[in-house]
């Protein structure tokens, strides 16, 4: 394999969307660098420190557990009460012989968000101890690959639409997981504002 020398991350940056080279300039907090040719986001300073992100991810995981374990909404019709958690809803789709839909809902609302949060927690735990996690590159790659497929915020809107539709048929009782999903939507929006590429900068600081 031919030798390729890295030319220093801090010196230049190529636009992700039009490939134009720019010289990196230091940015103030909350400032963004945009491409001079196409206007795409070039880079921005990390919105959180490793400690802050770790706390945020840990909090998100706890809220995620609550959102999975408790009923989202309940229905009351003539004294009978029915409620459902997200895993139960997914199981029911599977039971109705809709495996494609069941797998899709499972992956986008449960599995992928859980994997992404766990991967971030693992990477940050090691970074906070001043070292690179084993398999660092692969795990960062997994976070980047999973990110577009996590759809908790869309699911949250789906819950609201379903609640309105169901309220025409029966009395709807909001469940614990409804509030948990609401909180999770905000927590994940904050987590996602952290570009996984910043992990490489943190890793370089961690390396001796």
């Amino acid at each position: 394999m031919p030798a390729i020398g890295p030319i220093g991350t801090s010196a230049l940056v190529a636009c992700h969307e039009c490939d134009t080279l720019h010289r990196r300039v230091p940015l103030r907090r909350h400032a963004l660098a945009r491409c001079t040719r196409c206007g795409a986001l070039l880079y921005s300073p990390p919105p959180f420190s490793a400690q802050q992100l770790f706390a945020l991810v840990l909090g998100s995981l706890l809220v995620f557990m609550i959102a999975m374990a408790f009923p989202i909404v309940g229905l009351e019709v003539q004294g009978t009460r029915v409620s459902s958690t997200l895993p139960e809803a997914i199981w029911r789709l599977w039971d109705q012989e809709r495996p494609v839909v069941a797998v899709l809902v499972f992956a986008t609302t449960a599995l992928f968000p859980l994997l992404e949060l766990s991967a971030l927690l693992y990477l940050l735990w090691h970074l906070l101890h001043g070292r690179c996690a084993p398999g660092f590159a692969r795990v960062v790659g997994a976070v980047q690959a999973l990110r577009p497929w996590g759809m908790i915020e869309v699911f949250m809107l789906g819950v609201l639409v379903a609640v309105v539709k169901l309220s025409h048929m029966a009395h709807v009782i909001p469940g614990v997981a409804l509030w948990a999903f609401g909180a999770l939507t905000f927590l994940l929006a904050a987590v996602v504002s952290f570009d996984p590429r910043h992990l490489w900068e943190l890793a370089e600081d961690a390396r001796p």
């Binding site: 992700h16 490939d19 789906g158």
Partner: protein
Amino acid sequence: MNAAPGAAGAMGTSAAAGLLACRACGQLSRRPAADAPCRCPRCGARLRTRKPQSVARTWAYLVAAAILYVPANILPVMETRSLFGTQKDTILSGVAYLWTSGSPELAVVVFVASIVVPLLKMGALGYLAWTVQRGAARRRHERSRLFRLVEAVGHWSMLDIFVVALMAALVRLRVLAEIEAGPGAAAFGAVVVLTMLAAMSFDARLIWDHGRHHD
């Protein structure tokens, strides 16, 4: 070399400067002389000047999505069984139900997410792939912005799938009413996934490449 980086203001592309930008971590590397496959020295990801077969892949996913779009809209996504018989709802009749039952705001939200967004995505990606293939040089800023929009709104089309999943989970009062997900839901979910894959396959940098033909 006139395209060498460092000339203030007029910096070209990384490809023209003999550099490769890593898609995973952003690191720039010098391109080796031979066209041998190489990896990012920092993160080990495969380095390529452009995504391979980008336009052909985008078309393939788009065609598949367009084919499945037909059953996704014709077949019912939700089947309601009650004392009064079975009612089958397609995506569009679900929107109509929301509109007539006194929730026009939500009808608009679902209409945008389930009808407008998938059509916009397929139309926009088709337009982008076609103009790139023709080597069009006009309206680059607009096309660039269009692509960013398509990427940003893509996953919101999954909305109706989640609504159906919840309705089916909750309405299971054997005597009174029961709701099941219909075959259209699977087709619709597949359309959303395929259009997202189409957007991911498309290399936005092709919009800005001058007069070069790809794939």
